[in-house]
Homo-oligomer: 900 residues x 2
């Protein structure tokens, strides 16, 4: 027969599935001989059976009774006994800690009789009545579903009636009256009496804990955190101990190391004559552990020795709750403690140095999200500040600057030395210059994968986007949110890690870890030493140690998405092993736009050819610069991807220009000419239009120009003694024939250039896999491709049928709330849909072309969870924005070790 109840002395910490996290750790401490108040755990299996059938397992009541009898025997007191009652706490405890579930009911076992006994035994009647009052309040609210406000309102009235300043000052009489009042509330609201039978109290509480597993909030939390609905929760029943029995009692919370900084040594808070909840509530000032020692050195010594034991036993930072009851120390809870990013790195490496864990285990104790946090400057949040508005935390960091409303102004002001924040409704490719010139970008539209967000992350610029309550009046050069209007030149501080935006200037602390990553260990340590900052020194060294191990362990290569030489330079400094994606369209912007316009507006083939010819030396020199920076490493260059009309002005703008000119009796010839071109190229859905390889096949000479520029750049670099490793990537291929046609033409051209220059050229030609059809027919495509690079942004758009420009703001929040997404599929790869295509294409591609090189160059290439997936699928490398290269290195290493 299945056992549903385990005494704390029976379990251990490996049994979290069965006993929940709290129960397993209580059992572990008991097993270690630590002073845990006796108690028992009702298993998650009991919960699951209750949820499945609607009633407790038949044998549960009997087992609980037996366990209670054991508790009573140990305590020498009985539950419900009138003279000296045994009281218990009842707490939920699932495998993973989970908000939204019923938490705790204390003082279970008190009733109208036993409260007298407790008063007598404790020689503290006020304490006894207060405990009873708390039980009825907690029980009424959480078990009997009575509106909690009714109790707190009654409490407030009692405080007022007594003319005291708070409930701690209420005397025994007031508390007695309050108990009666609370009992009446329970009857009135629930229709039932507060149960006097302690066993009934326990039974009802256990059932309430079980049921709370399926509250809406808990269900939603699980969906978001990807916790299975099938786990269920355990329930812990534990003998009550009291920290509020006078000056020799108290409660505390402590950590075996400082969880904020990682500094070694015990760290904690203690509150005399208080229960655990009072410590957390922060009503009174707590004492430090040093002060606790002065108060009660015996308990302190015992606590410290327990902490040492727990840390070496758990081999990690432990978070501990304890109570001293009349001089006797009780351990109430422990778990591996949460910590800040810097503490995580420092503690992990400290434990390696102390011989407690291996460096590989240390790698498991940190993650890319933590490293990302450490790379960005932060606001000094000790400074007072005024919130202006908030949006989505789109690209982390802290930026301060004067607000500008267009890119030209951003560039102009930045050139004269101003720090600026570019504020726009939304950005577009023309804003690139302005974004580069700015400290940060703030938009009122678009989500985490909007243009602003994606480009900002690529540039390492702070960005808050989709600040929807802000109304932007670009023409009027102002923006209004919550009644406050910001004008051009006003200073804003934007926090890209939280999405908060503040008026005025907040002080910013720069990132020593970023300094280390970009400029190297020596430079970073020198800065720390100059400031005599030992914690920072240790942090830098810790990051260095962990990252070195990650680089050693990882199977996945890490490249960067870099469009120009300066990006490539930065990427290489941050550890990129090549360029995985150079978007040549970014070379067509700015001054060169006029050349592209000539290509588009050409009436005759020779006009187009001439315009293309004028572009050639510019493209070639771009590629020479890029290949120089990445000398000796591969550079995957993607041929032109976006639709041509993106290089022309906006259609509606032109129509307005033409119509306004007409209405005022004039003619705007230029606008009319451009309008004709834009209308010719107009597409209802440009994302699904004439772009990528389609453009290459339809516009004569366009791809050839680019292939020529690449091949000539390689030849020149090689002639100059360099090691140019360009790769040509064809975008948006859906059929092998498309790739074959481009490949055939490119190969002829490359051979010609090799012959002309006398330089042997071997330039691999591959394709993006960014359409479902490409993934489905990857076996055929692989026959003619040297490599695949998964364009998971576009693949996500087509697999789900939504474009990130349009839908993030429109419904992603709704979708996250409704649990349709755990996380935006543009942020972390959708393993079941898009991931399935990646897996299928990898398999089919390698089946027909075993040596096929596989990479990914979508945004997901820099996302920790996605990187683990790509490693598992067997890709050869990920490519991400330069600033995410260290994160990708770390996660690729973690993936190798964790999935070994």
């Amino acid at each position: 027969m299945r056992t549903y109840v385990y005494d704390f002395s029976e379990g251990d910490r490996t049994q979290k599935d069965l006993l929940g996290g709290k129960g397993a750790n209580l059992a572990e401490m008991t097993r270690l001989g630590l002073p845990v108040p006796p108690g028992f755990t009702i298993t998650t299996e009991a919960c699951r059976e209750y949820l499945a059938t609607g009633s407790e397992p038949a044998t549960l009541a009997g087992e609980v009774n037996e366990a209670l009898a054991r508790l009573e025997a140990v305590a020498g007191r009985s539950i419900g006994e009138a003279e000296d009652p045994l009281l218990v706490s009842v707490r939920s405890g699932a495998k993973f800690s989970m908000p939204g579930m019923m938490d705790t009911v204390l003082n279970v076992g008190l009733n109208d009789q036993s409260v007298m006994g407790l008063a007598a035994v404790s020689t503290n009647p006020r304490f006894a009545w207060d405990s009873y009052r708390r039980l009825i309040q907690m029980f009424g609210k959480t078990v009997m579903d009575v509106d909690g406000d009714l109790f707190s309102d009654a409490l407030d009235e009692a405080v007022e009636a007594a003319g005291v300043s708070g409930d701690v000052e209420l005397d025994e009489t007031s508390l007695c009256e309050l108990v009666e009042r609370f009992k009446r509330i329970v009857v009135e609201e629930s229709g039932d009496e507060f149960p006097q039978d302690p066993r009934r109290q326990i039974e009802m509480t256990v059932r309430a804990v079980f049921s709370s597993w399926n509250t809406e909030r808990a269900t939603l939390y699980r969906r978001r955190e990807r916790i299975s609905d099938d786990l269920g929760t355990a329930v812990n029943v534990c003998t009550m101990v009291f920290g509020n029995l006078g000056g020799t009692s108290g409660s505390g919370v402590c950590f075996t190391r400082d969880p904020a900084t990682g500094t070694p040594g015990a760290y904690g808070d203690y509150l005399s004559n208080a229960q655990g909840e009072d410590v957390v509530a922060g009503i009174r000032n707590t004492l430090s552990l040093d002060e606790f020692r002065q108060l009660d050195s015996d308990s302190y010594d015992e606590l410290l020795s327990n902490m040492d034991l727990l840390e070496s036993h758990y081999r990690d930072l432990c978070d501990i709750e304890f109570t001293v009851e009349r001089g006797k120390l009780w351990m109430l809870q422990t778990r591996v403690g949460k910590r800040t990013a810097s503490a995580a790195f420092r503690i992990a490496v400290q434990l390696v140095d102390e011989g407690v864990i291996t460096i590989d285990e240390a790698l498991g104790r940190v993650d890319g999200a933590q490293l990302a946090q450490l790379m960005f400057p932060q606001f000094d949040l000790h400074t007072p500040r005024t919130t202006y508005t908030h949006g989505m935390a789109a690209s982390p960091g802290a930026a301060v600057g004067r607000v500008v409303f267009d890119s030209a102004t951003a560039v102009q002001w930045a050139e004269r030395g101003d720090k600026v924040v570019l504020l726009r409704k939304e950005t577009n490719p023309d804003d690139l210059g302005g974004m580069v010139a700015s400290e940060g970008i703030l938009t009122s539209r678009g989500g985490k994968t909007s243009h602003a967000a994606v480009v900002a992350r690529g540039l390492g610029k702070t960005c808050v986007c989709g600040a929807a309550e802000m109304h932007v009046d670009a023409e009027g050069r102002s923006a209004t949110a919550n009644g406050v209007t910001i004008h051009e030149g006003d200073v804003l501080s934007i926090n890209g890690s939280t999405g908060e935006v503040y008026t005025g200037e907040l002080p910013v602390v720069s990132s020593p870890v970023f300094c280390y990553l970009e400029e190297g260990l020596e430079v970073a340590l020198a800065h720390a030493d100059a400031d005599d900052d030992i914690e920072t020194r240790e942090l830098i060294l810790a990051v260095d140690r962990v990252l070195a191990r990650a680089d050693e362990a990882r199977r996945l290569g890490v490249r960067a998405n870099a469009d120009k030489a300066p990006d490539a330079e930065r990427a290489r400094a941050l550890g990129a092993e090549g360029v995985g994606l150079c978007r040549t369209e970014h070379m067509f912007l700015g001054d060169r736009r006029v050349l592209v316009e000539r290509v588009i507006l050409a009436n005759e083939p020779h006009e187009r050819e001439e315009a293309l010819k004028d572009l050639l030396p510019l493209q070639r020199s771009d590629f020479i610069d890029l290949l120089s920076e990445m000398d000796g490493l591969p550079c995957t260059i993607r041929l032109l991807d976006p639709p041509l009309h993106e290089f022309l002005p906006d259609h509606a703008d032109l129509r307005v220009r033409v119509a306004v000119a007409e209405a005022t009796g004039e003619t705007d010839h230029e606008a009319e000419k451009l309008l004709a071109a834009v209308e010719r190229l107009h597409e209802a859905n440009p994302m699904l239009g004439l772009r990528g390889v389609r453009l290459g096949l339809v516009v004569p000479g366009l791809f050839s120009l680019q292939v020529r520029a690449i091949a000539e750049a390689c030849a020149q670099r090689i002639q100059a003694g360099g090691d140019a490793q360009a790769e040509i990537m064809v975008p948006l291929v859906g059929s092998v024939v498309e790739l074959q046609l481009i490949r055939d033409e490119a190969e002829v051209l490359i051979a010609e250039i090799a012959a002309d220059t006398g330089v042997p050229l071997e330039i691999p030609i591959g394709t993006m896999i960014e359409l479902p059809r490409a993934a489905l027919t990857a076996g055929r495509i692989a026959e003619t491709a040297d490599f695949f690079s998964f364009g998971t942004n576009d693949l996500t758009q087509t697999t789900w049928g939504f474009s990130r420009d349009d839908v993030e703001a429109a419904f992603f929040n709704d979708y996250l709330e409704k649990g349709i997404f755990d996380v935006s599929p543009f942020e972390t790869i959708d393993v079941d849909g898009v991931g399935e295509l990646v897996r299928m294409a990898s398999k089919r591609g390698r089946e027909t072309h075993p040596g096929l090189h596989l990479g990914v160059c979508g945004e997901h290439g820099g996302d920790p969870e996605s990187i683990h997936f790509f490693d598992e699928v067997g890709l050869d490398y990920v490519s991400c924005s330069p600033f995410r290269v260290p994160i990708a290195r770390l996660e690729a290493g973690r993936s190798s070790i964790l999935n070994r």
Copy 2:
């Protein structure tokens, strides 16, 4: 050892893979004892080996020599013999007849000596020299790659110099000189002499035939017709016989029945003293077979008896070429003959009645494309006509009407009794009323799957679209093409079957087959009998017989896409077994648009609720009408699919209105208000935006309104004694959670309405599978779906990543020419990509939900080739536009029988 050469007497008609079509049929005729001139076939295997290795199989030359020796033995003459040379023809003959390949070289074996012998033996020197001249010309051009114009120019000069009217009048001397001239041309152009050695002539010709397999035109043709590149061609070498040896000689082409009408009895043309090519060239007037009998009754009798033999042997209409050489009949070629659509149906059923084939075989002899042709009215092309322009044949039929440039005018003119043709740049959903009112639609933009084309096919309206050379000036109410300007009210005749557009009115012949399909056998026969039209009577009966068998045999159900009751009525008449897709958005147009605007422009929830409430009775009554028409049959009703902004005016139009008002010192409040709404809803890629289930989840009350209308309509119908079988279909689902959320809400609502009305309601709820992710995760989705309906239009768009609105005109023609597509994937399902997803989703869906009902409601549901694919995959039904229902019935039946 492999045999590469087969005498005609060795093969048979089953060996088309090895001997090619022509060779296999020559062998078959030889085997039947018909008088075929002796000859042999070089196999496709020899060709394949030549193409793979660059040289003929080592044993080929020897085998050819042996075969020639056998020919010589039979003929009693030798090849190259000076006195009485044996001449041969060399012809290509692949498995499938294929333009672009080298065709024929006649008179091989002639040279400077043997031409004299031929002159002597034939007693016709002019004939001999003309034969030699022809050999050098054909050989020079096709085998030695000399520009053919050089020969024809020289021939023209000789005609001029001789002062005669044509080459048939050139005398022996002139022809002698021409032979010399031709030989000089060959040397000058190719650098080589015309080969005098007959064996070398044969060898070179065979090699040229082999090589012609890979000409660009042949390759492209194969790609389009989906013929494998691996087949190769055979080569037929055949003893020459001459129809041009005087009055007792001649050549002819004949059919065993009339291929134009299907009327039984031999049918053909004969030309005295002529070669086969002269018959086809139509230089002289041919004789009928009756006239041939009067000329040469022996040959005629023998031919007729041969024709009977061939038809009963091939069990089908045969197409025959023959020559009479000095009174002796020779059979030169036969094959199963091509025929018109009406001949196909009539002949198939005639053969059944004659006991030659079974009715199932008859079903294999006709197809949906033929039936489609028969369903549409046609222009009487005997009438003289003036072409105005041409575009894509988007929806077949012949339409005549006065041109109008907007829908309102179309409706107005049609109401007063005018027949109109709606001429627009392109159409949009607002044009629906105008399209309904028009005889036909002509657009200057968009391809075969543009809005105009799709809606026209749905409505059964004639449509020519993408007439790109036509410039439309809608404001000026005129359209200009090729210098001709059409004004509003002018009459155009448009041919939707060919894409031709004519000025003025062409007489139209209505379709008796369509009359039969819609109004039934009796009505159609009565019309035919009234006209005393026996051929039409036979055609109607033939279609009826074949279609009845198809209905009996098919496994696939056939439903129709019908949005309103009149569509459903027509669909049911044409044999639809339910509605597979009712697009409720079409119910939101016209007058109701203002209600939708209220939904969109609502500032407060209660405003939206009120607007939705006003829509409820309208929707409900639409559904009641639809369910009445389809009483007893399933009606799948799709919840609102398109983005809301489609119901508002165009963004650029509004911006122009606002700007022009401002520029002229006024304010257009209405435009400003609408503009704000449009901008709020504006999407860069509406196809990938907030639509379908996303809209249903985000806009409160929208889907509930529709579900309520459906459920209430069902309840009312059932209360009234009807048999309402509505099914609710959720569009654009990508995740099972989306469907589950809608389903949960709908089930509650339906149960409520069932309870309120006391009518038990069982309304299946299913989903479109129109996103790759839906197909990939179909296993999960099936757990919560009663049915899947594949939306292959959208699935094609997302799988390929192109929207049909944008790309068809932009690059589909290029793609077809380059062989990337065989056919537009919007027309016939892309089996390798989109089809793979359909297959996968069907399999995965049925794995988790074995009873899952599967259908397709995209355009492909009415496409013959696609229907066979859907049958093979195991779908339960296809749904197509009402007018394609008979075609789908026929093809579903054919698929059952052909794939049995």
